[in-house]
């Protein structure tokens, strides 16, 4: 094997998903500088473990490494950001009357307000929304990346959307 083989594999398996990797790191870290550090470290870890990648979904594989790298970083540098949420395995049964406040449609919400709305979410809620809405991952893929059962993914997604709607309602973005 020539020395360029691992490099070629890296170009095929890792580099095509670098935007996705950076996007997740950026939303978890909250700023450009730390997101770049996390993405770089995760990419190099991916390079070292390329031999362990056996084909299949390279994006989920890379995002799993990015997420682990980001959480390790967060635990060291911002432990308050990773306080675990008690997950309800079952979706909350909502009272139809109580949901009226956020059951109105959202038309062209301001981009900065949406950003702020996502940023104020707990990390574990934010990541499922980023993976679902911005990266288009399936529930199963999210459950692999976020290391949580599908039921937990569904519950986090529902609660994240509810919190987002409540935040937007407070900001007057809901019509």
């Amino acid at each position: 094997m020539s020395a360029t083989d691992p490099q070629r594999q890296f170009e095929q398996v890792v580099m095509p998903h670098l935007d996705a990797a950076y996007n997740l790191a950026r939303w978890l870290a909250g700023n450009d500088h730390d997101a770049e550090d996390i993405t770089q470290e995760a990419s190099l870890r991916a390079f070292r473990f390329l031999s362990g990648f056996r084909g299949g979904n390279s994006r989920s594989w890379l995002l799993t490494i990015v997420r682990n790298t980001a959480y390790t970083w967060l635990k060291q540098n911002r432990p308050q950001a990773v306080v675990s949420i008690a997950d309800d395995e079952l979706l909350e049964i909502e009272d139809p009357e109580a949901t009226k406040s956020h059951s109105s449609a959202l038309h062209n919400a301001d981009r900065d307000v949406l950003r702020a709305a996502l940023e104020q979410l707990p990390t574990e809620f934010r990541e499922v929304l980023i993976l679902r809405e911005l990266e288009g991952l399936s529930y199963k893929e999210i459950s692999e990346v976020a290391d949580a059962p599908i039921g937990t993914v569904m519950s986090r997604l529902a609660r994240a959307r509810k919190q987002l709607q409540e935040f937007l309602a407070r900001k007057g973005e809901l019509q």
Binding site: A3, F10, R54, S103
Partner: protein, 246 residues
Amino acid sequence: MNCHEIHPLLHAYVDSELDLMPSLEVDRHLKTCANCSAMKRSLESLRANLRNRDLAYRAPNALRARIRETVAATTEEKPQRTSRPWVWQLLTLGALGFAVFTLMFQPSGISGQDRLADEAISDHVRSLMPGHLMDVVSTDQHTVKPWFNGRIDFAPEVKDLAAQGFPLVGGRLDYLDNQTVAALVYHRNKHTINAFVWPAKTAATTTIQERRGYTVINRDVNGLHYCIVSDLNAKELQEFGNLLTQ
């Protein structure tokens, strides 16, 4: 279905993650229920806003370049060793000395392969002590496989071999050959089988050893090394090995 039954399904419905039958139920309910329809519309508009407002960040080009450079530097490290500062040369020399030392004092007659087999048997025996066998107990391959995600940096294939008489009972992390490895636990009648899996360093040929009443199979498949240990007879364990790694 009433509103209370529909609400938990709405998210999976708008995410197109609902199976056909429940999806049809939701369709039917939405036709007659204004409140649930409004909830569905608000979820859809929230989703559309998140997707269409260009909220995703893109990796800066400078970062791409930096990652490529570092990867290139890592792969070129070996031929460049002579140009490294003297500290590296000293370290290399030290490592070489250590390697010679270990080789010289290695008990003669025990090959690396036998040592690995002994180590694997020890892990296997330890795993049989109460409370040591499994970290994740599940007969479902779809529970065991994701469990390893994020705990190790490779993805062992977890097969359900119950139909072939080797039910999956769970998995755990173990330590073997100086690294953290995945351990898959299967049963055959009253026998426990440990299949240790880690990324293969070289493509070695398959070996079967019998030591201390245990059978140990080592095999490399698709870049992964499998070390399978049990007190099961060699013939049946081979059958299991073939099923697991085919």
